[in-house]
């Protein structure tokens, strides 16, 4: 046990020593990984915002079911219960014709034309139906059509359908981008760490000859790679969050209707993801770099 913990301390010391010894090389490696992680981070931030936008819009997607005139309150209640039981319905809200008129007034403002309209309220009673998921809108609308007393159903079918399609494509693109850039980052780390490994090839050769285990030989390089990944992740995370907070502030005043994930909420998942990615990329890169030099 004593020798094991001392071996571990030695790994750390060697990793750190090499980190200092190969200063310029290390800076180059960390910088490249930082750039790669930044791009990955942008993809993640973009992806999170898309999900957020989709989720927000999803909950905002409403269907209006208009009722025929002269329904008795008991009938209305029965229909409401039936609608609430349709799969995919999140909420049903009864809007009386008086309430609908009041809404319209709020939107249009008091005007002579409106006063004229109000005399004979042309609006029917209706239900506002909110769906759990925008993709269910079509199905829910279809089901609503068959409910007793429902005369007409309207919803922004094309907008919703297009939004669903766009979100799916953008999610896929974000995923592909992340995968591609991670691969690039691994290659970069591998190549920079290979320089470190080459600088120490004699040591590796001797270690193998005198009977050091492969894991013993790998550890210092893995630690070094993971350290580089960690530093790069923290750097990239800081830059990204600062840029994001700036951009979010700008957008909030410029495009207030665009729902954005606040920087504070983004910080934790983004930093965790980037540190995880950075450390994993560093470890993967050094593993590959050392493997070519291990003869057994």
């Amino acid at each position: 046990m004593l020798s094991r913990s001392s071996a571990f301390r030695q790994f750390l010391r060697e990793g750190e020593a090499s980190f200092r010894r190969n200063g310029l090389m290390t800076v180059a490696a960390v910088t490249t990984v930082t750039v790669a992680l930044l791009t990955v981070g942008f993809a993640i931030a973009g992806g999170l915002n898309l999900s957020h936008l989709a989720a927000t819009l999803n909950t905002q997607v409403e269907i209006v079911a208009f009722l025929r005139d002269g329904m008795r309150p008991a009938e209305v209640t029965r229909t409401q219960t039936a609608i609430a039981e349709i799969t995919g319905v999140a909420a049903v809200h009864f809007v009386s014709r008086a309430e609908a008129l009041a809404r319209l007034e709020r939107r249009l403002g008091a005007s002579p034309a409106f006063a004229d309209l109000a005399k004979h309220n042309p609006l029917p009673d209706s239900f506002d139906v909110r769906v759990r998921d925008a993709r269910l809108t079509g199905a829910v609308a279809g089901a609503l059509q068959g409910q007793p007393g429902v005369e007409d159903v309207t919803y922004a079918a094309q907008v919703v359908d297009r939004l669903v399609a766009v979100t799916r494509v953008m999610r896929l693109m974000a995923l592909l981008l992340t995968v591609a850039l991670s691969a690039v980052a691994v290659i970069v780390v591998t190549n920079t760490l290979r320089l470190t490994v080459i600088a120490r090839w004699r040591e590796i050769e001797i270690m193998e000859l005198v009977g050091a285990t492969r894991w013993f030989i790998r550890w210092p390089f893995l630690i070094e790679g993971m350290l580089q990944g960690l530093v790069a992740a923290v750097a990239a995370g800081t830059v990204l969050l600062l840029l994001y907070a700036l951009a979010a502030a700008r957008l909030r005043t410029g495009l207030p209707f665009l729902p954005m994930v606040p920087a504070i909420d983004l910080a934790a998942p983004l930093l965790i993801a980037m540190i995880g990615c950075g450390v994993a990329l560093g470890a993967a890169g050094s593993f590959v770099a050392v493997r070519r030099f291990l003869s057994t």
Partner: protein, 228 residues
């Protein structure tokens, strides 16, 4: 101690380095492996410390089939073998003592044992007084002694030396060969490849001569070459 049974080695390039070698070396022997450059001497040693795998046949070291060791157990084999090379393979920034201790340190030896055991090994090669010198401050012969000390630090029953005097002047070469003989007299089996005719002819040890990857001669108390 060491046994080769109908061993052939064909490198991936297609080049046949060894052909149908059968050889048995017993505990306590001192064996010279001689032959022209390219005859397969280094390849023969590489099979023993498992730097290469035999293409055909079996290589037994301490009774274990080296060709069938799992990758994870190669390190264990290497700790029971000492290997010495023509180019010493010392770490230039480390002192003689650190170079020897390195072999202990990277094999998980407790820190408190490193210095005493490394010093003891340096003492066996007569270099304890030069322990603080880095390789550049040592002569070729002294550097080879440090590498021998490193090879001995795990007290291996078997010491392999691939042209240990190849880079040395005649005086240093004699010193190294005498050291290897002394190590052998204390019980370690020693296998040395060499081109040094003078030394082989004086020491009169067992000589295995390779020619084109085959054993051309295996002679007790042999000479470097068959007298004509």
């Amino acid at each position: 101690m060491v046994q080769l049974q109908r061993v052939s080695k064909i490198y991936p390039s297609g080049l046949t380095a060894l052909t149908d070698i059968s050889l048995r070396i017993d505990r306590g022997e001192f064996v010279f492996v001689v032959g022209p450059t390219g005859s397969g001497k280094s390849t023969l040693l590489k099979l023993l410390y498992r730097a290469e795998l035999p293409t055909h046949g079996r290589v037994l070291v301490y009774g274990r089939d080296v060709g069938r060791l799992r990758a994870g157990t190669v390190a264990g084999l290497r700790r029971t073998l000492g290997v010495v090379f023509q180019d010493f393979k010392l770490l230039p920034q480390r002192t003689a003592l650190e170079n020897v201790a390195f072999a202990l340190r990277v094999t998980g030896t407790p820190t408190s044992e490193l210095i005493p055991r490394a010093l003891q090994a340096l003492d066996r090669v007569g270099l304890a007084h030069r322990r603080e010198a880095v390789p550049a401050e040592l002569s070729g012969g002294e550097q080879q002694r440090v590498s021998i000390a490193r090879a001995l630090v795990h007290d291996p029953p078997l010491l392999l030396a691939d042209e240990p005097t190849g880079n040395l002047d005649p005086d240093s070469s004699w010193g190294i060969m005498q050291l290897l003989s002394r190590i052998n007299l204390r019980g370690t089996t020693v296998i040395v490849t060499t081109h040094n005719k003078a030394i082989v002819d004086v020491l009169r040890q067992r000589v295995v001569q390779l020619a084109d990857g085959r054993v051309a001669r295996d002679q007790r108390q042999g000479l470097y070459a068959v007298p004509v």
